[in-house]
């Protein structure tokens, strides 16, 4: 289930990012999460520059359904394509979708949330009711609806996922703005005649960043799962371009004779999501001491 992170305590002083990173890496789960996410990014980068053992789209029917070996580290699929190369390239495609969609959702959601929270009254009410409408749709259903309208394809998947997660960011960004508006330092800035947009950019925005950063790390894992789910249904990254969800879907029916087709893409999804979850949870612990040890 998708949930917005709880509001972090408002201090009026944004945390030092160097200290946050040091504290994050000093916890075992934060360190493991950071290592997994770094590995995921490194693998995706290899796929992006073509550093794969074999061309990911090249078919070699003579070598079809070969088990893992020194030549094919993760075996081959039914068309004789190298699974390891496809897992690497699948990582590139999933990272592309995940980063772009979460960036779009973060930008749009934060803009909506901050504007609504700062303006208050009618604007806030309308914006939040619109967000409630989007919350009425289960994530995968909303993504399917958007893909139906736009058609399947990697960029349309980006838009679909961004639309699904925008309301969550709007809620997360709005919460701290409501509390910050009432703080003495913001009221003092208003009293000395500072313009509204300057108060917003200088005093409010920096304090909304910690919960948004935590939400980004969690949304990355949800976006990865949604992309994999859409691709599993054949509505995400279009073939022959590889995607982990689509590779998993292709394994159904032949996993009994070629279990590596199920194992490697499955592990790739699970480990990447685990990495983002560990990183997100640790970030939340570091940025909100109230939550420490509660998970």
């Amino acid at each position: 289930m998708l949930t917005a992170v709880e509001s972090l305590p408002v201090t009026g002083k944004p945390p030092s990012w160097r200290r946050t990173a040091r504290r994050l890496l000093s916890t075992p789960s934060g360190l493991i999460g950071a290592i997994i996410v770094s590995l995921y990014i490194a693998i995706a980068a290899c796929g992006a520059v073509g550093l794969t053992p074999h061309p990911p789209l090249a078919q070699k029917p003579i070598d079809r359904l070969q088990g893992p070996s020194s030549e094919y580290w993760m075996g081959t699929d039914i068309l004789g394509r190298d699974v390891a190369s496809r897992v690497i390239k699948g990582g590139t495609n999933s990272l592309y979708v995940v980063v772009l969609s979460v960036s779009l959702a973060t930008f749009a959601g934060t803009l909506i949330g901050i504007t609504a929270g700062f303006a208050g009254g009618f604007v806030d009410n309308i914006a939040m009711r619109i967000m409630d409408i989007f919350f009425a749709f289960p994530a995968i259903l909303l993504a399917l609806l958007v893909v139906t309208i736009l058609g399947s394809g990697i960029n349309n998947t980006v838009v679909a996922i961004a639309i699904v997660y925008t309301p969550i960011f709007a809620r997360v960004a709005r919460g701290p703005v409501l509390s910050l508006k009432e703080t003495e330092f913001v009221q003092a800035a208003n009293c000395i005649g500072m313009r509204s947009w300057r108060v917003l950019l200088r005093h409010i925005l920096p304090n909304t960043i910690p919960p948004i950063i935590v939400q980004v790390s969690l949304a990355l894992s949800w976006a990865l799962l949604t992309e994999a789910g859409l691709s599993f249904l054949g509505l995400g990254t279009p073939p022959p371009e590889p995607s982990w969800g689509q590779m998993l879907s292709e394994s159904t029916g032949i996993a009994e004779i070629a279990p590596w087709l199920l194992f490697f893409p499955g592990m790739a999804i699970m480990v990447s999501v685990l990495g983002f979850n560990l990183l997100g949870d640790s970030l939340r612990d570091v940025l909100d001491p109230r939550m420490r040890g509660s998970r």
Partner: protein, 321 residues
Amino acid sequence: MLRYLIQRLLMAIPTLIGVTVLVFTAIRLVPGDSITAMLGTEAGLLTQTQRAALESYFGLDKGPVQQYFSWIGNVFRGDLGYSVRLGEPVGDLILRRFPVTLQLALMSVMIAIVVGVPLGISSAIYRDSAIDLTGRLFALIGLAAPNFLVATVLIYVLSVYFGILPNAGNFTRFTDDPVRNLSQMIFPALTLGLAFSASIMRTTRSAMLEVLGMDYIRTARSKGLREKIVISRHAFRNALIPVVTLTGIEFSYLLGGTVIIEQIFALPGLGRLTLNAIAQRDYALIQGVTLFIACNVVIINLLVDIGYAIIDPRISYADGS
């Protein structure tokens, strides 16, 4: 209390209206005209008069606002449109498929509670012990493993090691043959339930840890109450509130979020109906099912909110936010 309930009810109305507007607009944003979308390549065989007659029959010759009010009027009369592809009213199709999804969601939630709640309580009571570590590891893996991966692995294990094919054969309704129905539903329910039990475990553990650190628990212990009573009567009852909320919300999402699992296990529920409607570009059906699911989510969330307010006296009824 009454004021709070009325306030919550009134807040749900604009959301429901917004849902109808969104679904109506979304389907009209699909490229191409509705008649071609409905009939596909067969639309090319229509004469100008036939096309005009069809447009008049479906009200497509009116303006969008008029079309919306005409559509919403039909929805209130229980008419969700007609599926050209399946040759049946959308309402009838939904009513026939909904019980399958509802049963799947109910069974999944039951499995999740049976697994997640005891695990969460044990984890909190024996914090940092082997039980706690196992429970937290289970939750971490449960949250990281997508349900379609769990389903695919489950089918693989069952077919290779036990010779069972859980997604084969015709679906049997509970009313026709309960045993056969349960044998068909148990694996998809387990798949969804185990993933959800990870969230329940974490919420229960977190809520129990918070409650166990409170003064009234220390008081209960210091007056000599047995630990079992402190846990069951004082801690668990208060820790239950967020778990109940999570369960309610998750249940509402399960009613529309079982798409992939229904597809994998070949269950004729609402999710599979939606997927088939998308594959066949059956827009009346997509519109009807989406509207039905979204309204369900809004109504169940409203009931959860009201139930939450009833069971938790700490909620301020004056604050409607």
